[in-house]
């Protein structure tokens, strides 16, 4: 019973302690087992927390028994529990896959460090999702960012180094903007506890420092979540990172940044402040639409599949932000569901591309000619995940599009419905690029695909199954997302 009350702390502590353990163990096999055990344990904890939250409401946990707002508080509510499950779930699937994948992509001497960095990245992302303290968010953000720079730099292509460097520069600017915003909010309110900050801000709302903080926060978080036009770091980072890292980061890192945005917009500043005083709705709407259309169009012209789907990620982030711009329960439900659905879908895509890389040596369009005949299962998987990106009924992506369209109709914006459908055609175009190359070209004779271990195939199949299951049964995605959206729209606590 005593353990159960400390689950919120253990959620972060388990991967945090497992990280140095992998360094001490050193042997890649032992490090691998530790990392997988830690991520599965974290998944179990997050599921237990989610059930607890669904059953009996939000959990507040005072670190070291110092009560909030003076002490640091961990808070698990409908939204954060969903993020915890997403991060730990994706990590639990990607880590078993990673072993076979990094054997082909990362020098053996660095394998144990790969697991260390991976665990630290999980720690950071979980910390952001669970903490109720503004400065804590920054610290965890930097833990996850620094470890993800290292993970990206582990890619075997030398361009991975430059990609990691660029991400480091952009990411640090973004994180520093977030600290500036938190600093200004602290100066105005004298508290760092998010809930307390939200309450106290009500008295100083609309003052210039608060508006400046809002601006800094928006730009900083937008850099982190790769909102168009602040997305430049993303394509190279995803394209040249080791496949397992691309899959994990694409599925979780940008999503957690969106979570930070939601948390600050709706619980700290409050909806009336963000959307009432400034034309944020229109700004986000324009940036989201520009992101969707520009990134999808660029994706069509890519020759490397990893880059193609990286640009697709930027356009999908456009849909996520589009949902935020409605500032309605339906819009936010679409956002939160898409965090989850796109995380699962894009995770599956990059795991599949990892299999392609592992067996054919690269994922350029020139290399995957006739892949449909050489590797029928993998190709079919990419097509299935592609259908989810387009938003075909029966896949997870459809659920989001459905709620986005509902939200647009709620506000009577017919033209937006038209744009959402039109943007799906663009997604169809870039997915078709793969279909055309893989199914309508003769296979290359000079490439003999190597066999792929079951440890890579199984996690991928699991995520693909999730894409279909979450497309058909929305009980476990839409219902919690709607609860979270209602909580956010409820305003500052």
């Amino acid at each position: 019973m005593s353990i159960a009350t400390h689950l919120p702390a253990l959620q972060v502590v388990v991967p945090l302690l497992a990280a140095p353990l992998t360094v001490l163990l050193r042997r890649p096999g032992l490090a691998f087992v530790t990392a997988v055990a830690a991520s599965w344990l974290a998944l179990a904890i997050s599921v237990a927390l989610a059930l607890q939250v669904a059953g009996s409401g939000a959990i507040n946990y005072a670190i070291g028994s110092w009560p909030a707002p003076l002490g640091i508080e961990y808070r698990v509510d409908a939204l954060s529990s969903l993020m915890l499950v997403l991060v730990t779930g994706i990590a639990s699937v990607v880590l078993p896959y990673a072993r076979g994948s990094i054997e082909r992509e990362v020098p053996a001497a660095q394998h144990y460090l790969f697991y260390t960095m991976f665990l630290l990245c999980i720690t950071g992302l979980l910390g952001i999702a669970i903490t109720g303290d503004a400065f804590n968010i920054f610290v965890f953000l930097e833990i996850s960012s620094l470890s993800s720079y290292v993970l990206i730099a582990l890619g075997r292509d030398k361009r991975a180094l430059v990609a990691a460097y660029q991400y480091l520069i952009m990411g640090t600017i973004g994180a520093t903007f977030i600290v500036i915003a938190i600093g200004m909010l602290y100066l105005m309110t004298g508290t760092l506890n998010l809930a307390d900050m939200g309450r106290r801000l009500a008295t100083v709302n609309g003052t210039r420092p608060v508006l400046a903080a809002l601006a800094f926060l928006t730009v900083g978080v937008s850099l982190k979540l790769a909102l168009f036009p602040l997305h430049q770091w993303l394509p190279n980072a995803y394209a040249y990172a080791p496949s397992a890292v691309s899959a994990f980061l694409a599925a979780t890192a940008t999503k957690v940044a969106v979570y930070v945005l939601l948390r600050f917009y709706f619980e700290v500043f409050g909806q009336s402040q963000v959307f009432g005083r400034l034309p944020m709705e229109q700004m986000m709407l324009v940036l989201a639409l520009a992101g969707i259309f520009v990134a999808s169009t660029i994706a069509i012209f890519q020759t490397d599949l990893k880059r193609l789907f990286a640009y697709s990620s930027i356009s999908q982030i456009g849909y996520i932000v589009l949902g935020v711009s409605y500032a309605s329960v339906t819009g936010l439900t679409a956002t939160i569901v898409h965090l989850f659905n796109h995380g699962v879908t894009k995770g599956a895509v990059f795991l599949l591309l990892g299999i392609v890389v592992a067996s054919t040596g690269g994922a350029t369009l020139a290399r995957v000619q006739g892949l449909g005949r050489i590797m029928p299962w993998t190709s079919a998987g990419i097509v299935l995940a592609g259908l989810s990106l387009i938003g075909v009924p029966g896949t997870a992506g459809f659920v989001t599009k459905w709620y986005l369209i509902l939200a647009a109709l709620e506000q009577g914006q017919w033209w937006l419905v038209f744009l959402i459908v039109a943007s799906s055609l663009l997604s169809l175009a870039y997915v078709w690029r793969f279909v055309e190359t893989a199914y309508f070209r003769e296979p290359r004779t000079d490439i003999v695909p190597a066999a792929v271990p079951l440890s890579m195939a199984l996690p991928t199949a699991l995520l693909l199954a999730a894409v279909v299951v979450f497309g058909l049964d929305t009980t476990y995605t839409v219902d919690p997302a709607m609860r979270a959206a209602q909580m956010l729209i409820g305003g500052p606590r």
Binding site: F135, F138, V139, E142, L146, Y149, V150, A153, D157, K158, R159, L161, V162, A164, Y165, L168, I169, T172, I173, T176, V179, I180, G183, Y186, L187, G362, T364, A366, R367
Partner: protein, 129 residues
């Protein structure tokens, strides 16, 4: 416009002006310079300016550390200092990682100038298939 203690604006808000100057100068270096090391130096200045943003308002002239005693009435706020201690550690780690990456980039490309690296990446001989 008057600052705290009734000083005229510029002097009263002296620390803020310094902060903003360093902030903009650092960001400018990051954007304008092509040398990867100089970019990191700019990034360092940019981050350091934020330390000032936190620490300066926490200090009250004549204030002491928060000691509960009859003889002390005016306290400085220690919390920003503690926060910035954490931020400094993060900054050092970022700088170290950035420099490590630059070393690796130098080994791989033979240069630390951004335009030369981009030129090498654009040329077909860079090993892309």
């Amino acid at each position: 416009m008057t600052g705290p203690e009734g000083l005229p604006g510029v002097i009263g808000h002296f620390s803020y002006f310094v902060t903003v100057f360093l902030l903009v100068a650092g960001l400018f270096i990051v954007i304008a310079r092509g040398n990867l090391i100089k970019k990191l130096i700019g990034l360092g200045i940019f981050q350091t300016s934020v330390y000032l943003l936190y620490v300066a308002p926490g200090k009250l002239i004549g204030g002491t550390a928060p000691i509960i005693s009859e003889s002390y009435k005016v306290y400085s706020n220690p919390l920003p200092h503690v926060l910035i201690l954490t931020a400094i550690v993060v900054g050092v780690a970022t700088l170290a990682l950035g420099l490590a990456l630059v070393v690796r980039i130098r080994e791989a490309y033979g240069t630390i100038e951004e335009d030369e690296i981009l030129l090498q990446e654009a040329s077909p001989a860079s090993g892309a298939d």
